[in-house]
């Protein structure tokens, strides 16, 4: 790609090592999945014109869904063109590894077996069209999360592929993920030593809030944090992290300024109410430090240059944050705004790459001499 294009997307001072823990790949259309479906499903998709799930988590008309300039010239939605991803993220940021999340709303597909077939097709397409095309890419496995047994089967099917480092779970779910019904997902993830990524979004029959359906996308967008809070609480109190002590969870696109006060409240109440969940060995904040990581976009830190540093201080660790651009979602204008500020050099290095490197068991830290895949 031309220098002009990559300069528009590059920060002014490119850090020596960057791992991007959240970039998005979007399925351009059902037709790219057809080769990976069985005859039966291929026929249904074409003759009954199944156009894929309707993902309302990133409506096309909303500014946050895509930055200007991410639309591929040749057609297809933002995030569907590898060359553009390489130019605008991987090369521009000198990214060593990027973790691809595909928010294809498989959980919205009501027919269980169709959801399973579509999820498998997405994963096979991710392997062929992305992982095998650029060795900097890693990816999250897409699963029919509404059917935990099927999800476990899919994790077992592709979980050992070296390109997959994580299982993608939309944070808005049919049931809170701590429910024993969902346990097979975590069991399979642990079996393959995969991270479980709870991700912004999710299209389910449940209303997005405990008070029903809000009117505006603005509300849904802001309320996603409460779904993260609820689902994390479920995972903790139901003992998922006790049953699988090696399990790693990443909260992706969750924001994080809500977390300290949430943990203070959760710790306080757990002390009096722990008897109801006696298998919880640690306080909630201890579980977070041991088992959970957070991506840095969207950055909802307190205003001012010290916002992130203050959160790190309140949470007690700089291990927790994983740099992300969340490409192509629109959270920052100038690329420099995505860089962590107010941190020591050592902490900044951890946030920019080293935390993700150890969390996702990625390769060595040899600095890259030049751009390119």
């Amino acid at each position: 790609m031309t220098d002009t294009l990559s300069q528009r997307w590059a920060p002014t001072g490119i850090p020596s090592a960057v791992i991007d823990a959240d970039v998005h790949v979007n399925v351009p259309g059902i037709n790219v999945l057809l080769p990976y479906l069985s005859d039966y499903w291929r026929e249904i998709c074409t003759k009954a014109a199944f156009r894929g799930p309707s993902d309302t988590s990133y409506p096309a008309g909303m500014p946050t869904s895509a930055r200007p300039g991410t639309q591929p010239a040749g057609g297809g939605p933002p995030g569907s063109d590898l060359a553009l991803l390489q130019a605008q993220v991987l090369d521009a940021w000198n990214v060593e590894y990027a973790i691809v999340n595909c928010s294809y709303a498989v959980e919205s597909v009501r027919q269980h077996y169709q959801a399973q077939a579509v999820a498998s097709a997405v994963n096979d397409w991710l392997i062929d069209a992305w992982l095998e095309q650029d060795s900097r890419l890693r990816a999250s496995i897409v699963v029919p999360s509404q059917q935990p047994q099927f999800a476990a089967r899919e994790i077992d099917r592709v979980g050992d592929h070296p390109g997959f480092v994580q299982v993608y779970l939309p944070v808005r779910s049919w049931l809170p993920y701590g429910n024993p019904i969902c346990r097979p997902i975590f069991e399979a993830a642990a079996r393959h030593d995969l991270v479980v990524g709870l991700h912004f979004g999710g299209v389910t029959p449940n209303p997005p809030t405990s008070a029903g359906w809000p009117s505006y996308y603005l509300e849904e967008y802001a309320n996603m944090a409460t779904s993260f809070a609820s689902n994390l609480m479920s995972i903790i109190v139901e003992g998922v992290l006790d049953e699988f002590p090696t399990l790693r969870i990443t909260l992706i696109e969750s924001g994080f300024s809500w977390i300290p006060a949430y943990l203070w409240r959760f710790d306080k109440e757990w002390k009096g109410l722990r008897r109801e969940v006696p298998w919880t060995r640690y306080s909630p904040s201890e579980y977070l430090r041991r088992h959970v990581r957070l991506t840095t976009q969207p950055n909802d830190a307190p205003p001012g240059p010290d916002g992130l540093r203050r959160l790190i201080d309140q949470l007690g660790s700089d291990d927790l944050f994983l740099f992300s651009t969340d490409y192509p979602h629109y959270h920052f204008d100038a690329p420099d705004e995505a860089l962590p500020t107010g941190l020591s050099e050592a902490s900044a290095r951890k946030v920019l790459a080293e935390n993700a490197r150890s969390w996702y068991r990625l390769g060595s830290s040899a600095p890259r001499a030049e751009n390119g895949g």
Partner: protein, 151 residues
């Protein structure tokens, strides 16, 4: 230190208690399996009437869905915010980031036997010590009387 007779032995059967006003303090005297222990009637958390709390058991669990009682009746649970205190030692049992509060010494009269290292047993069950330790007072028996020492 002054010593106060707070009850006759037969007033407080095993599992029972008596709350008395002594030397300007409210004190709860408990009979824990034949041992007497005296607590200041004030929870270190927010000052609730600790000695009016119900007695529960400790809970052992090997994993989600598994729960069984051990040392039944030996958890004094504050009637307000449900903080749990070991009735034998006054130690609260939770883990937090807060530093430990100042600990009062527990004196056990010779001839009495407590469970060996009850703290270790709880740690083995997965409990961790909380930040609070309830104030307990030395208790001894004088003939048929229960005697508490108040500083």
């Amino acid at each position: 230190m002054a010593r106060y007779v707070v009850a006759r032995v037969d007033e407080i059967p095993v599992g029972g208690r008596k709350i008395v006003a002594v030397a300007g303090e409210s004190v709860g005297v408990f009979n824990v399996g034949g041992e007497y222990v005296a607590f200041r009637n004030r929870c270190p958390h927010q000052g609730g009437p600790l000695c009016e709390g119900a007695l529960w058991g400790f809970v052992a669990s090997d994993g989600p869905g598994d729960a069984r009682l051990v040392r039944e009746g030996e958890v004094l649970k504050c009637p307000w915010h449900a903080w749990e205190y070991d009735l034998r030692t006054g130690q609260s049992w939770y883990q937090t980031a807060r530093p430990r509060a100042r600990r009062y010494p527990v004196q056990v009269e010779p001839g009495r036997s407590l469970v060996a290292n009850p703290d270790d047993a709880l740690l083995d069950l997965g409990y961790a010590k909380g930040p609070f330790v309830a104030e307990i007072y030395p208790v001894s028996l004088d003939d048929v009387y229960v005697v508490v020492e108040i500083p």
